[in-house]
Amino acid sequence: MRTLADRYAAALADVALAENAAEKIRGELESFLALMREAPQLGTLLGSPAVPRAGKRAVAEALVKRLGASRTLRNFLCVVLDHRRTRLLPEIQAALDRQLDERLGVKRAEVTSARELPDGDQKKLQAVLSRLTGKKIEAQYKLDPQLIAGTVVRIGSTIYDGSVRTRIEKLRHQLASQ
Protein backbone atom coordinates (compact mmCIF):
# COMPACT_ATOMS: atom_id res chain seq x y z
CA MET A 1 0.00 0.00 0.00
CA ARG A 2 1.44 3.38 -1.00
CA THR A 3 1.81 5.89 1.77
CA LEU A 4 1.43 9.62 1.47
CA ALA A 5 5.22 9.99 1.47
CA ASP A 6 5.41 7.50 -1.41
CA ARG A 7 3.01 9.66 -3.48
CA TYR A 8 5.06 12.81 -2.93
CA ALA A 9 8.29 10.88 -3.63
CA ALA A 10 6.84 9.38 -6.81
CA ALA A 11 5.87 12.82 -8.09
CA LEU A 12 9.34 14.23 -7.37
CA ALA A 13 11.00 11.17 -8.92
CA ASP A 14 8.90 11.62 -12.06
CA VAL A 15 10.05 15.23 -12.43
CA ALA A 16 13.68 14.41 -11.55
CA LEU A 17 13.88 11.58 -14.09
CA ALA A 18 12.14 13.69 -16.73
CA GLU A 19 14.75 16.39 -16.21
CA ASN A 20 17.47 13.72 -16.10
CA ALA A 21 18.54 15.13 -12.73
CA ALA A 22 17.74 12.28 -10.38
CA GLU A 23 21.01 12.31 -8.45
CA LYS A 24 21.06 16.11 -8.32
CA ILE A 25 17.56 16.32 -6.85
CA ARG A 26 18.35 13.51 -4.45
CA GLY A 27 21.43 15.38 -3.23
CA GLU A 28 19.58 18.69 -2.93
CA LEU A 29 16.80 17.17 -0.86
CA GLU A 30 19.36 15.47 1.34
CA SER A 31 21.16 18.77 1.88
CA PHE A 32 17.91 20.52 2.74
CA LEU A 33 17.02 17.86 5.29
CA ALA A 34 20.54 18.02 6.75
CA LEU A 35 19.99 21.74 7.24
CA MET A 36 16.69 21.06 9.00
CA ARG A 37 18.37 18.50 11.26
CA GLU A 38 21.07 20.99 12.16
CA ALA A 39 18.50 23.70 13.00
CA PRO A 40 15.43 21.99 14.52
CA GLN A 41 13.68 25.35 15.01
CA LEU A 42 13.60 25.60 11.20
CA GLY A 43 11.44 22.48 11.04
CA THR A 44 9.23 23.87 13.80
CA LEU A 45 8.84 27.14 11.89
CA LEU A 46 7.99 25.47 8.57
CA GLY A 47 5.58 23.04 10.25
CA SER A 48 3.81 25.60 12.43
CA PRO A 49 0.24 26.51 11.45
CA ALA A 50 0.76 29.87 13.17
CA VAL A 51 3.22 31.00 10.49
CA PRO A 52 1.52 32.30 7.30
CA ARG A 53 2.03 30.35 4.11
CA ALA A 54 3.77 33.25 2.38
CA GLY A 55 6.27 33.48 5.22
CA LYS A 56 7.06 29.77 4.98
CA ARG A 57 7.52 30.03 1.23
CA ALA A 58 9.90 32.97 1.71
CA VAL A 59 11.97 30.99 4.21
CA ALA A 60 12.07 27.94 1.93
CA GLU A 61 13.10 30.04 -1.04
CA ALA A 62 15.87 31.69 0.96
CA LEU A 63 17.17 28.27 2.03
CA VAL A 64 17.02 26.90 -1.50
CA LYS A 65 18.92 29.93 -2.76
CA ARG A 66 21.57 29.49 -0.07
CA LEU A 67 21.96 25.80 -0.95
CA GLY A 68 22.12 26.63 -4.64
CA ALA A 69 19.38 24.09 -5.23
CA SER A 70 17.29 23.73 -8.37
CA ARG A 71 13.92 25.29 -9.12
CA THR A 72 12.43 21.77 -9.05
CA LEU A 73 13.28 21.37 -5.38
CA ARG A 74 11.97 24.88 -4.63
CA ASN A 75 8.64 24.06 -6.28
CA PHE A 76 8.45 20.72 -4.54
CA LEU A 77 9.10 22.31 -1.14
CA CYS A 78 6.40 24.90 -1.80
CA VAL A 79 3.90 22.15 -2.58
CA VAL A 80 4.85 20.32 0.60
CA LEU A 81 4.57 23.51 2.66
CA ASP A 82 1.23 24.45 1.09
CA HIS A 83 -0.16 21.04 2.01
CA ARG A 84 1.34 21.22 5.50
CA ARG A 85 3.38 18.03 5.04
CA THR A 86 6.70 19.36 6.31
CA ARG A 87 6.92 16.62 8.90
CA LEU A 88 6.78 14.04 6.13
CA LEU A 89 10.01 15.25 4.50
CA PRO A 90 12.31 12.59 6.05
CA GLU A 91 9.92 9.84 4.94
CA ILE A 92 9.64 11.43 1.50
CA GLN A 93 13.42 11.40 1.20
CA ALA A 94 13.64 7.70 2.09
CA ALA A 95 10.84 6.90 -0.36
CA LEU A 96 12.54 8.99 -3.09
CA ASP A 97 15.77 7.04 -2.57
CA ARG A 98 13.93 3.75 -2.90
CA GLN A 99 11.98 4.81 -5.95
CA LEU A 100 14.91 6.37 -7.78
CA ASP A 101 17.04 3.28 -7.10
CA GLU A 102 14.26 1.06 -8.33
CA ARG A 103 13.63 3.09 -11.48
CA LEU A 104 17.34 3.51 -12.25
CA GLY A 105 17.98 -0.18 -11.59
CA VAL A 106 20.33 0.54 -8.72
CA LYS A 107 20.90 -1.61 -5.63
CA ARG A 108 22.67 -0.19 -2.62
CA ALA A 109 25.12 -2.49 -0.89
CA GLU A 110 26.77 -2.04 2.46
CA VAL A 111 30.14 -3.75 2.45
CA THR A 112 31.90 -4.27 5.79
CA SER A 113 35.38 -5.74 5.93
CA ALA A 114 38.08 -6.30 8.51
CA ARG A 115 40.68 -4.54 6.35
CA GLU A 116 40.33 -1.83 3.75
CA LEU A 117 39.57 -3.38 0.37
CA PRO A 118 41.85 -2.28 -2.49
CA ASP A 119 40.18 -0.67 -5.52
CA GLY A 120 40.64 -3.81 -7.54
CA ASP A 121 38.88 -5.92 -4.95
CA GLN A 122 36.07 -3.34 -4.71
CA LYS A 123 35.53 -3.44 -8.47
CA LYS A 124 35.58 -7.24 -8.50
CA LEU A 125 33.09 -7.34 -5.66
CA GLN A 126 30.75 -4.82 -7.30
CA ALA A 127 30.88 -6.75 -10.56
CA VAL A 128 30.01 -10.01 -8.81
CA LEU A 129 27.20 -8.35 -6.85
CA SER A 130 25.80 -6.82 -10.07
CA ARG A 131 25.73 -10.26 -11.63
CA LEU A 132 24.16 -11.64 -8.46
CA THR A 133 21.37 -9.03 -8.27
CA GLY A 134 21.05 -8.17 -11.96
CA LYS A 135 21.28 -4.47 -11.08
CA LYS A 136 23.85 -1.74 -10.84
CA ILE A 137 25.46 -1.76 -7.40
CA GLU A 138 26.25 1.36 -5.42
CA ALA A 139 28.38 0.19 -2.56
CA GLN A 140 29.19 1.88 0.69
CA TYR A 141 32.34 0.53 2.37
CA LYS A 142 32.93 0.29 6.12
CA LEU A 143 35.66 -1.14 8.31
CA ASP A 144 35.02 -3.41 11.31
CA PRO A 145 38.05 -5.10 12.94
CA GLN A 146 35.65 -7.21 15.02
CA LEU A 147 35.10 -9.34 11.91
CA ILE A 148 38.69 -10.70 12.46
CA ALA A 149 38.99 -11.30 8.71
CA GLY A 150 36.73 -11.52 5.66
CA THR A 151 33.85 -9.45 4.29
CA VAL A 152 30.12 -9.00 4.95
CA VAL A 153 27.78 -7.60 2.27
CA ARG A 154 24.25 -6.41 3.02
CA ILE A 155 21.87 -5.63 0.14
CA GLY A 156 18.48 -4.62 1.47
CA SER A 157 17.52 -7.33 3.90
CA THR A 158 19.88 -9.93 2.40
CA ILE A 159 23.25 -10.52 4.05
CA TYR A 160 26.20 -12.35 2.46
CA ASP A 161 28.55 -13.16 5.30
CA GLY A 162 32.12 -14.21 4.54
CA SER A 163 33.64 -13.12 7.85
CA VAL A 164 35.85 -15.28 10.06
CA ARG A 165 33.96 -14.06 13.11
CA THR A 166 30.72 -15.67 11.86
CA ARG A 167 32.48 -18.93 11.01
CA ILE A 168 34.01 -19.10 14.48
CA GLU A 169 30.59 -18.32 16.01
CA LYS A 170 29.04 -21.18 14.04
CA LEU A 171 31.81 -23.46 15.24
CA ARG A 172 31.20 -22.38 18.83
CA HIS A 173 27.48 -23.13 18.50
CA GLN A 174 28.22 -26.56 17.07
CA LEU A 175 30.59 -27.36 19.92
CA ALA A 176 28.15 -26.13 22.56
CA SER A 177 25.20 -28.04 21.16
CA GLN A 178 26.99 -31.40 20.85
Binding site: L117, L125, L132, A149, G162, V164, I168, L171, R172, A176
Partner: protein, 199 residues
Amino acid sequence: MKPASRGLRRGWAACLLCVFVQASLLLPALAQEEAPSPADSPTGYVFRWLNLALLLAAIVWVVRKFGGPFFRGTARAIQDAIHGAAAGRAAAEKEMSEVARQLAGLDAEAREMRRAAGRESASEAERLRALAKNEAEKIARAAVAEMEAAERAARQQLRVTAARAAADRAAALVRQRMNPAAENALFSAFLGELERGAQ
Protein backbone atom coordinates in the same frame (compact mmCIF):
# COMPACT_ATOMS: atom_id res chain seq x y z
CA MET B 1 -68.32 -28.20 88.63
CA LYS B 2 -67.07 -30.92 91.01
CA PRO B 3 -69.65 -33.16 92.76
CA ALA B 4 -68.17 -32.35 96.19
CA SER B 5 -68.79 -28.60 95.91
CA ARG B 6 -72.29 -29.26 94.55
CA GLY B 7 -73.15 -31.38 97.62
CA LEU B 8 -71.74 -28.70 99.91
CA ARG B 9 -74.01 -26.12 98.35
CA ARG B 10 -77.05 -28.38 98.78
CA GLY B 11 -76.13 -28.92 102.46
CA TRP B 12 -76.09 -25.22 103.08
CA ALA B 13 -79.48 -24.86 101.39
CA ALA B 14 -80.96 -27.59 103.67
CA CYS B 15 -79.56 -25.89 106.80
CA LEU B 16 -81.18 -22.60 105.78
CA LEU B 17 -84.49 -24.39 105.24
CA CYS B 18 -84.34 -25.91 108.81
CA VAL B 19 -83.58 -22.53 110.34
CA PHE B 20 -86.54 -21.05 108.49
CA VAL B 21 -88.89 -23.84 109.76
CA GLN B 22 -87.61 -23.41 113.34
CA ALA B 23 -88.14 -19.68 113.19
CA SER B 24 -91.67 -20.06 111.88
CA LEU B 25 -92.47 -22.42 114.78
CA LEU B 26 -90.69 -20.43 117.49
CA LEU B 27 -91.78 -16.88 116.63
CA PRO B 28 -95.49 -17.39 117.63
CA ALA B 29 -94.30 -18.82 120.91
CA LEU B 30 -92.02 -15.85 121.59
CA ALA B 31 -94.86 -13.48 120.77
CA GLN B 32 -96.96 -14.93 123.71
CA GLU B 33 -94.26 -14.60 126.39
CA GLU B 34 -96.27 -12.06 128.25
CA ALA B 35 -98.91 -14.64 129.02
CA PRO B 36 -98.13 -17.83 130.99
CA SER B 37 -96.17 -19.96 128.54
CA PRO B 38 -98.05 -22.98 127.24
CA ALA B 39 -94.62 -24.47 126.63
CA ASP B 40 -94.31 -24.98 130.32
CA SER B 41 -97.31 -27.19 130.21
CA PRO B 42 -96.89 -30.95 129.67
CA THR B 43 -98.22 -30.58 126.20
CA GLY B 44 -95.56 -27.93 125.60
CA TYR B 45 -92.88 -30.30 126.72
CA VAL B 46 -94.14 -32.94 124.37
CA PHE B 47 -93.96 -30.46 121.51
CA ARG B 48 -90.53 -29.37 122.55
CA TRP B 49 -89.35 -32.94 122.41
CA LEU B 50 -91.08 -33.37 119.07
CA ASN B 51 -89.46 -30.22 117.83
CA LEU B 52 -86.04 -31.47 118.91
CA ALA B 53 -86.69 -34.80 117.30
CA LEU B 54 -87.68 -33.14 114.05
CA LEU B 55 -84.61 -30.95 114.15
CA LEU B 56 -82.31 -33.88 114.78
CA ALA B 57 -84.03 -35.89 112.06
CA ALA B 58 -83.58 -33.03 109.64
CA ILE B 59 -79.93 -32.68 110.58
CA VAL B 60 -79.36 -36.42 110.25
CA TRP B 61 -81.16 -36.42 106.92
CA VAL B 62 -79.14 -33.46 105.59
CA VAL B 63 -75.88 -35.02 106.80
CA ARG B 64 -76.71 -38.38 105.26
CA LYS B 65 -78.09 -36.88 102.09
CA PHE B 66 -75.32 -34.37 101.27
CA GLY B 67 -72.39 -35.07 103.59
CA GLY B 68 -71.85 -38.60 102.28
CA PRO B 69 -71.20 -37.65 98.65
CA PHE B 70 -69.14 -34.68 99.76
CA PHE B 71 -66.88 -36.73 101.97
CA ARG B 72 -66.75 -39.55 99.44
CA GLY B 73 -65.70 -37.07 96.73
CA THR B 74 -63.02 -35.64 99.00
CA ALA B 75 -61.83 -39.10 99.91
CA ARG B 76 -61.76 -40.07 96.22
CA ALA B 77 -59.72 -36.95 95.35
CA ILE B 78 -57.30 -37.77 98.15
CA GLN B 79 -57.10 -41.39 96.94
CA ASP B 80 -56.48 -40.17 93.40
CA ALA B 81 -53.74 -37.87 94.61
CA ILE B 82 -52.24 -40.77 96.58
CA HIS B 83 -52.45 -43.00 93.50
CA GLY B 84 -50.88 -40.25 91.36
CA ALA B 85 -48.07 -39.83 93.84
CA ALA B 86 -47.54 -43.56 93.88
CA ALA B 87 -47.37 -43.64 90.08
CA GLY B 88 -44.90 -40.74 90.13
CA ARG B 89 -42.86 -42.50 92.70
CA ALA B 90 -42.89 -45.66 90.63
CA ALA B 91 -41.80 -43.70 87.56
CA ALA B 92 -39.06 -41.97 89.56
CA GLU B 93 -37.92 -45.31 90.97
CA LYS B 94 -37.91 -46.77 87.48
CA GLU B 95 -35.88 -43.85 86.20
CA MET B 96 -33.55 -44.13 89.13
CA SER B 97 -33.03 -47.81 88.45
CA GLU B 98 -32.35 -46.97 84.78
CA VAL B 99 -29.80 -44.36 85.81
CA ALA B 100 -28.24 -46.85 88.21
CA ARG B 101 -28.08 -49.40 85.40
CA GLN B 102 -26.48 -46.88 83.12
CA LEU B 103 -24.01 -45.90 85.83
CA ALA B 104 -23.17 -49.53 86.26
CA GLY B 105 -22.52 -49.76 82.48
CA LEU B 106 -20.51 -46.53 82.47
CA ASP B 107 -17.24 -48.25 83.31
CA ALA B 108 -17.72 -50.75 80.51
CA GLU B 109 -18.59 -47.94 78.16
CA ALA B 110 -15.50 -45.98 79.21
CA ARG B 111 -13.36 -49.08 78.68
CA GLU B 112 -14.90 -49.52 75.24
CA MET B 113 -14.29 -45.88 74.43
CA ARG B 114 -10.67 -46.20 75.52
CA ARG B 115 -10.27 -49.28 73.35
CA ALA B 116 -11.87 -47.50 70.35
CA ALA B 117 -9.66 -44.47 70.88
CA GLY B 118 -6.63 -46.73 71.05
CA ARG B 119 -7.63 -48.44 67.84
CA GLU B 120 -8.22 -45.07 66.13
CA SER B 121 -4.93 -43.63 67.28
CA ALA B 122 -3.13 -46.74 66.08
CA SER B 123 -4.73 -46.48 62.65
CA GLU B 124 -4.00 -42.72 62.57
CA ALA B 125 -0.38 -43.37 63.47
CA GLU B 126 -0.19 -45.99 60.74
CA ARG B 127 -1.70 -43.53 58.24
CA LEU B 128 0.76 -40.83 59.28
CA ARG B 129 3.66 -43.27 58.95
CA ALA B 130 2.51 -44.19 55.45
CA LEU B 131 2.07 -40.53 54.56
CA ALA B 132 5.52 -39.66 55.85
CA LYS B 133 7.02 -42.56 53.93
CA ASN B 134 5.27 -41.44 50.77
CA GLU B 135 6.44 -37.86 51.24
CA ALA B 136 9.98 -39.04 51.89
CA GLU B 137 9.92 -41.08 48.67
CA LYS B 138 8.59 -38.08 46.76
CA ILE B 139 11.31 -35.84 48.19
CA ALA B 140 13.94 -38.42 47.34
CA ARG B 141 12.64 -38.69 43.77
CA ALA B 142 12.54 -34.90 43.43
CA ALA B 143 16.07 -34.65 44.80
CA VAL B 144 17.31 -37.25 42.33
CA ALA B 145 15.58 -35.44 39.46
CA GLU B 146 17.01 -32.14 40.63
CA MET B 147 20.49 -33.58 40.85
CA GLU B 148 20.17 -35.05 37.38
CA ALA B 149 18.94 -31.70 36.04
CA ALA B 150 21.79 -29.90 37.79
CA GLU B 151 24.23 -32.41 36.34
CA ARG B 152 22.81 -31.88 32.86
CA ALA B 153 22.95 -28.12 33.30
CA ALA B 154 26.52 -28.33 34.54
CA ARG B 155 27.51 -30.50 31.57
CA GLN B 156 25.83 -28.05 29.22
CA GLN B 157 27.52 -25.13 30.93
CA LEU B 158 30.83 -26.95 30.64
CA ARG B 159 30.24 -27.53 26.93
CA VAL B 160 29.35 -23.86 26.46
CA THR B 161 32.39 -22.73 28.38
CA ALA B 162 34.67 -25.09 26.50
CA ALA B 163 33.17 -24.00 23.18
CA ARG B 164 33.63 -20.35 24.08
CA ALA B 165 37.20 -20.96 25.11
CA ALA B 166 37.87 -22.88 21.91
CA ALA B 167 36.26 -20.11 19.81
CA ASP B 168 38.25 -17.41 21.60
CA ARG B 169 41.42 -19.41 21.11
CA ALA B 170 40.62 -19.94 17.44
CA ALA B 171 39.90 -16.23 16.93
CA ALA B 172 43.17 -15.31 18.60
CA LEU B 173 45.06 -17.81 16.41
CA VAL B 174 43.41 -16.49 13.24
CA ARG B 175 44.25 -12.90 14.17
CA GLN B 176 47.80 -13.94 14.93
CA ARG B 177 48.30 -15.80 11.68
CA MET B 178 46.31 -13.54 9.37
CA ASN B 179 48.44 -11.93 6.63
CA PRO B 180 47.69 -10.25 3.28
CA ALA B 181 47.97 -13.51 1.41
CA ALA B 182 45.50 -15.19 3.73
CA GLU B 183 43.19 -12.15 3.49
CA ASN B 184 43.32 -12.32 -0.31
CA ALA B 185 42.63 -16.02 -0.28
CA LEU B 186 39.68 -15.46 2.04
CA PHE B 187 38.33 -12.65 -0.17
CA SER B 188 38.72 -14.77 -3.29
CA ALA B 189 36.87 -17.62 -1.64
CA PHE B 190 34.05 -15.22 -0.69
CA LEU B 191 33.86 -13.92 -4.27
CA GLY B 192 33.76 -17.52 -5.49
CA GLU B 193 30.81 -18.24 -3.19
CA LEU B 194 28.98 -15.14 -4.47
CA GLU B 195 29.72 -16.17 -8.07
CA ARG B 196 28.27 -19.60 -7.43
CA GLY B 197 25.19 -17.86 -6.03
CA ALA B 198 24.96 -15.69 -9.15
CA GLN B 199 25.03 -18.75 -11.37
